[in-house]
Amino acid sequence: MQKQEFTITVYTENQIGLLNRIAIIFSRRKINIESLNTSPSEIESVHRFTIVINETEEVVRKLCRQIEKQVEVLKAYFNTNDELVWQELALYKVPTEIIADKVKVERLLREYGARAVAIRRDYTVFETSGHLEEIEGLIRALEPYGLIEFVRSARVAIIKDSKGFHEKLKEFESVEPGTNVIENEYLGKQDEVFTM
């Protein structure tokens, strides 16, 4: 199986120390976290982690089970990029005089949909949001013009076919056993299982 980019979405209780518990699941296996975002979710008291890693599907599936095993984790999903709508945000600090002087820079910024968020006499801070490639494209384009500082955020992602977490949460709030089922590829493949 090939490694590819997966986005893991984890719904959790908001508890001190949980970030560490989740992070060590990756570090223990020497897996690099490409990006990690923590945020509130649409439900009060439920937190959401968005984690991007480069791994095979098999590894990601096992990681999600390890994550779900943590007491404060409600649910972990993993998705490939085509199953997601996602964005990353970037800030670029550029000398103001260059923008004023060079028409080219201004055109570049417009082309990348950059928005000025702070304008000072000596520098201007622009913001773009989008996919990694676009953000990196603008950095490369700005570099020759004296880019002073750059920072990119972690990925935030929405799962396209997710109906939100409200329904799932109700299930978690009801008493054991939950009806949360774990799928297996052989379920329903009677023939494969029973040919001895």
């Binding site: 959790t12 209780e13 001190i16 120390g17 560490n20 518990r21 060590i24 223990r28 599936r61 096992k62 089970r65 390890q66 779900e68 095993k69 007491v71 404060e72 984790v73 409600l74 978690f172 709030e173 008493v175 054991e176 056993p177 939950g178 009806t179 949360n180 089922v181 774990i182 297996n184 052989y186 379920l187 009677q190 299982v193 029973f194 001895m196």
Partner: protein, 580 residues
């Protein structure tokens, strides 16, 4: 009475129930509500308010003062594993807490329910490098099922309720609660203790899917050469009876992992022995010959599977486990039966046909005969005057008739003990399986005795491992713990020596270990003892030990360079198991 009066009455009774107590006392009340009666611990500065509260509760909460905090966790593990209850540990902050780490790691990997309560510096000192401050919660995160730091006394009842619930439910494990000193001292309104029965984000048991049970049963009913391998899940799930009914109806041969051992009597007609690196010949070889492999409450440790890409490739695997993350982790399951085996096994038993597999079972017996000839006979009846470890275990079997609890340490003697010991009852084979912690047995035996006071507890320990937690002799002395200690002394770190002999051209690098006069050491602790090296003394020495009222240490000098066989060499498949 009017409703208003009723409400007032109710309010009054609530007020009457409220007590203003310290956090330390709340810990005692919580433990009593959890029906705890034994604590293994060691005091220190940051846990003094809890020990102060304990002073008034010592009649009901029996505290065993260990000699090292590692010993406290191992004792709590021994207690948990013989009693089926949760072990409880107290330790102070800093060095007290860091001394727990090995024990926690052991309890984590062997799924033992333990609740550790550690003292911590005052909350306002957290992060200041205060005296005896260590970041215990972060140090223990990878080796606990759950941990939490309490900084306010009012949290104590609910957090301890959660701790006990998490430790014992689902796949059990160790939980650590770190309580800052101010919270232990702080007075608060204690309104009673409510045991925890549900945590929103925690699913102790997965949902049982009938469809998988049906598929599993159909597969079992079709199988010609089905084979059951089982682990500690049966014991932890208290599903021994359900398991027996399952194997007896389906007539399938069953082999245990080291931690599954004793879940069924070792002489059960369908028992075919132990799996793994030093397990029995038949179950290892035939793992790679069966057509359906039914794994119950076990996790396919590498010591069980040997080389994974040559493990049971021909078999269709049915895996019953309570922990969803175990399914497909090492061995891919065709049919995953998620759930508590106490619930899933009866469902499966109902659907399987009553059968016997005499020819298939005979194949296990044939391998057994071969192993008997090549490994067991020479171990039981050595051709020299030098005693073997196997003889000692054999004599213990004859004397105890499989009724004893055997606690083994780690090394050759452990493998020999687990290969040859006979058990009639569950919860009887106590050993450090997943972590292989030398020094486990002596403290674990102490706990095992408190967990099962009516039973004989025999610790089998190597000369190396004994010296790792030798100080617990002090605990045995002080608390008058009636454990029988057998040191199998080969004057080597035997298991490592065996590997050096077999795989490192006999380059014996630092495995030659000198020991003190063990009997004299025991005597220093007022523990009776004896040392034997001759065959004609052995029986008498063992029965003397068993008949002795109180703790006893017996050193048996055994062959220095004996090896444990069979053996699946590392990196080989289970079918490549060597008899010599």
């Amino acid at each position: 009475m009017s409703t208003i009066e009723l409400a007032a009455e109710k309010a009054k009774s609530v007020i009457q129930q409220v007590e203003n107590i310290s956090g330390g006392e709340a810990v005692m009340k919580a433990l009593l509500c959890e029906k705890v009666n034994t604590i293994f611990g060691y005091p220190g500065g940051a846990i003094m308010p809890i020990y102060d509260a304990l002073y008034d509760y010592q009649e009901r909460l029996h505290h065993i003062l260990v000699r090292h905090e590692q010993g406290a966790v191992h004792a709590a593990q021994g207690f948990a594993r013989t009693s089926g209850k949760t072990g409880v540990v107290f330790a102070t902050s800093g060095p007290g807490a860091t001394n727990l780490v090995t024990g926690l790691a052991d309890a984590m990997i062997d799924s033992t329910p333990v609740v550790c309560i550690t003292g911590q510096v005052f909350a306002h000192l957290l992060g200041t490098d205060a005296f005896q401050e260590t970041d215990v919660v972060n140090i223990t995160t990878p080796v606990t099922k759950w941990n939490y730091q309490v900084t306010d006394a009012s949290e104590i009842p609910a957090i301890l309720a959660k701790a006990f619930y998490i430790a014992r439910t689902g796949r059990p494990g160790p939980v650590l609660i770190d309580i800052t000193k101010n919270a232990q001292l702080q007075k608060f309104d204690f309104t009673g203790y409510t045991p925890c029965t549900h945590i929103r984000s925690y699913r102790p048991k997965p949902y049982v899917r009938r469809k998988y049970i049906e598929q599993a049963a159909a597969l079992i009913n079709e199988a010609k050469k089905p084979f059951i391998i089982f682990g500690q899940g049966i014991i932890l799930g208290k599903a021994e009876k359900e398991f027996r009914e399952f194997i007896e109806k389906s007539g399938i041969p069953a082999a245990w992992t080291i931690l599954g051992m004793s879940a069924i009597p070792t002489d059960h007609p369908l028992a075919v022995g132990m799996l793994g690196m030093h397990g029995n010949y038949g179950p290892n070889v035939l793992t790679n010959d069966c057509d359906v492999l039914i794994a119950v409450g076990m996790r396919f440790d590498d010591r069980v599977t040997g080389r994974l890409d040559k493990y049971a490739k021909q078999a269709k695997v049915i895996h019953l486990d309570i922990d969803p993350s175990e399914i497909d982790k090492n061995v891919k399951a065709m049919i995953p039966v998620w759930g508590d085996c106490k619930e899933t096994l009866p469902l499966l038993t109902e659907l399987v046909q009553k059968k016997t597999h005499p020819e298939w079972l005979q194949r296990f017996r044939d391998f057994q005969r071969e192993e008997e000839k090549q490994c067991i006979e020479p171990e039981m009846k050595p051709s020299t005057d030098v005693l073997s470890m196997g003889e000692v275990i054999h004599q213990i079997n004859e004397l105890t008739k499989g009724e004893a609890i055997i606690v083994s340490d780690v090394g050759q003697h452990q493998m020999v003990a687990c290969r040859y010991a006979q058990f009639k009852h569950s919860n009887s084979n106590i050993t450090s399986g997943g972590l292989g912690t030398m020094g486990f047995a002596l403290p674990a035996a102490i706990g095992a005795k408190f967990g099962a006071p009516a039973r004989t507890v025999i610790a089998i320990i190597g000369d190396g491992g004994f010296q790792m937690t030798i100080q617990e002799l002090g605990t045995i002395m002080q608390s008058k713990v009636n454990v029988k200690i057998v040191i199998l002394n080969n004057e080597f770190l035997g298991m490592v020596r065996q590997w050096q002999e077999l795989f490192h051209d006999r380059r014996y690098s630092f495995v030659d270990i000198t020991s003190p006069d063990f009997v004299a050491v025991a005597k220093g602790y007022y523990i009776e003892g004896r040392s034997v090296s001759k065959r004609d003394e052995l029986r008498n020495a063992l029965s003397g030990m068993l008949d002795h009222q109180g703790p006893y240490l017996l050193e048996v000098k055994v062959g220095k360079e004996n090896n444990v066989f069979p053996m699946v060499p590392q990196g080989c498949s289970v079918a490549e198991i060597r008899l010599k």
